[in-house]
Structures are given as structure tokens and as C-alpha cells.
Amino acid sequence: MELRVIDKTDEELRIEVAGEDHTFMNVLKGALLETESVVAATYDMNPEQSGGQTDPVLTIKTDGTDPLDALGDAAGLVQTQMGTLRDAYESAAGA
């Protein structure tokens, strides 16, 4: 996973996440929207229309917190969710 920052201000971030597709980006976007400091978040796969751009571009807007921190928080949230889901499945499977 390679990250390339396209645009960054104090409350906005446009970043390219190389090598990812809807599988992870949509989960991440979902987690971003659940993160308190995030005002808006979306991603764009936009493959052919943008002149060969195939890696997804993630756009985040925050309430003033560093958007990179917000992204880190959301990545942490995804891990927590996956952890609880794994535990829930394992306990149901073990029972």
C-alpha cells in the first residue's frame, strides 16, 4: 500500500491509495464517516475517465483536526471492528 498525498491543507486531504480497490476503500470510507472529526469523506476509483488513473483517490474534510490524524483514527477503527467481528465469529463457532 503506497500513499501519495495530492493536496493537503489544515482541514482537507486528497490522497492516492495505490493498489487498493472497493474492498478496502469502501470499508475505510465507512469508518471515516463514523469518525467524529470527519465532516466529509469519499473516494473515487475513476479509472478510465481520468487519463489512466486507476488507483483510488481518497478525499477527507475535517472540522479542523489534521486530516492525516483522522485517517489514522479511521484505520484504527477498522481494526477494532475487524477484531470484534473475528471474536464474535469465533465465539459463535466455538459454541
Binding site: M1, L3, V27, G30, G76, V78, M82, G83, A88
Partner: protein, 249 residues
């Protein structure tokens, strides 16, 4: 959203499972479904060195058929890109089956023994050595561990009254899993997928249960359905961890 998930099994077998997960967002449900299909790697024959092929099929056609034979994949012992050598030697008249494939690694076997590769007549012979490689479903569909993976909304059935006495009896077909008023989970094929069989003469109302998804997972035999799901969760988890690290620098 709360981070409380609840999993309940309806069917659970070695290669297939049907279970309800509550508390999911559509994004997570779809992420896991997609990860099960494309991101959990399996071993599959990728290169074949023919010693003799006097069968009626070209080498390439046999190669394609071999690629589609599911192989048991111990994911703890292999990494993506690793390979295992397999071999086969069958002389006609006989049918070469997947079970005739010899393996150099006890852990890697054809998941099913009765897949015909080709029927050989008198004097025909098939002998080759092959390399199976561990790859993800993204690179080729033969590497997909999950062959029938999907989800539906869980639906709740409520009896709202009696059907009109002179109403025409029409079937009320529903597929998937329903939750009854008592909170019991029932697969619809138990009552022939027709609600009028379960609630004769009643008027029922069917609604989606928010955040509850009924997953149906079936593997090709490379590993168990449990393993497929847990590996899919791990793959999303690992990517989130990688992203968090990359952002923290």
C-alpha cells in the same frame, strides 16, 4: 454505530456455512464478501511440464482443466508466490482423475478425488509434472477459495392478522432466512420458501431487519468456510494496520 457484532449460525458444515451477523454496516458486509472472493489465496496448478500427452486433448486444454482442480491449501505454511510440485502418470484404457495426482507435500492434496481430467483410450498416456502456486482470486479465478459467497438482508416476518376469508390463496415466496416473532431464525427452504405454508390463513408482513446480514459462504474445498471468513477479516485488518502505520510516519 456500536462495535458490538453478533454472529449466529443457521447451518455450519466443513465447506459451507450460513450465518447471521448483526450490527454490520453494508460497507463492512460487502468488504468482507469481496475479500473472501478475491483476497484469500489458494493453491492452483499454474505451470505444467508434459512428459507425454498422447490423449485427444492438447496440452493447453489439459493445463486449463488442471488449474481448475481445487487443492487443499494450508495457509499457515505458505506465502503468496510459493509453489508445490505435483505429478501424474496414467496409462489408458483408464480415466485420469484428480485423485491420481501425486503430491510432493502431504498437506497439499486434490480437495476432491473424483474430478475427471481426461478419459484415456488404449495406448494413450498422460504423464506430467506440475507446479501449483499460491495466488489470490484477483490474479485468476482459479485461485478463488470462495465459490459461492454472498449475503442478504435478514427479514422479519410478523403476523398482522387473518387473511380475508374469501381471498384467493396466493403463494408468498421468500428466499433466505427469516426471523419469526419469537426471534427464531428459520431458513426459508424449511417451509418450501412459501410463507403460506408456515402461516396458513394468516396475513403477514415482511420487513428488513436493519444491520443484520445473512451470509452464505461456500468454499471449493481448499480450506474450511471458517478459515475463509477469518482470513478475509484478517486481510482487511492487515490493510488497515498498514494504513495506520503509513499515516503515523
Amino acid at each position: 454505530m456500536s462495535d458490538e457484532f453478533e454472529v449466529e449460525f443457521i447451518e455450519r458444515e466443513e465447506r459451507s456455512a450460513r450465518f447471521v451477523v448483526r450490527g454490520l454496516t453494508p460497507a463492512i458486509a460487502n468488504g468482507i464478501r469481496r475479500a473472501m472472493i478475491t483476497d484469500v489465496p489458494t493453491l492452483s496448478i499454474d505451470t505444467v511440464r508434459f512428459v507425454e500427452n498422447s490423449s485427444v486433448m492438447f496440452d493447453e486444454m489439459i493445463g486449463l482443466r488442471l488449474g481448475l482442480v481445487p487443492l487443499t491449501t494450508p495457509l499457515d505454511d505458505f506465502e503468496v508466490g510459493d509453489d508445490v510440485t505435483l505429478a501424474l502418470d496414467v496409462e489408458g484404457p483408464a480415466t485420469a482423475y484428480s485423485g491420481d495426482i501425486e503430491t510432493s507435500d502431504e498437506l497439499v492434496q486434490p480437495a476432491d478425488e473424483n474430478i475427471p481430467i481426461i478419459e484415456l483410450k488404449e495406448g494413450q498416456r498422460l504423464e506430467f509434472e506440475a507446479d501449483a502456486v499460491l495466488e489470490t482470486g484477483k490474479s485468476h479465478a482459479k485461485h478463488q477459495g470462495g465459490v459461492a459467497v454472498g449475503y442478504r438482508h435478514l427479514q422479519k416476518v410478523e403476523v398482522v392478522g387473518d387473511a380475508g376469508e374469501f381471498d384467493e390463496e396466493e403463494p408468498n415466496i421468500l428466499r433466505g432466512v427469516v426471523e419469526t416473532e419469537e426471534g427464531e431464525l428459520v431458513a426459508t427452504d424449511e417451509f418450501g420458501n412459501d410463507l403460506t405454508n408456515r402461516y396458513p390463513g394468516k396475513e403477514v408482513e415482511v420487513t428488513d431487519v436493519p444491520g443484520a446480514f445473512v451470509f452464505h459462504v461456500e468454499t471449493d474445498g481448499s480450506f474450511t468456510a471458517d478459515e475463509l471468513l477469518l482470513r478475509a477479516i484478517d486481510s482487511i485488518d492487515a490493510r488497515a494496520a498498514e494504513l495506520e502505520d503509513a499515516v503515523a510516519v
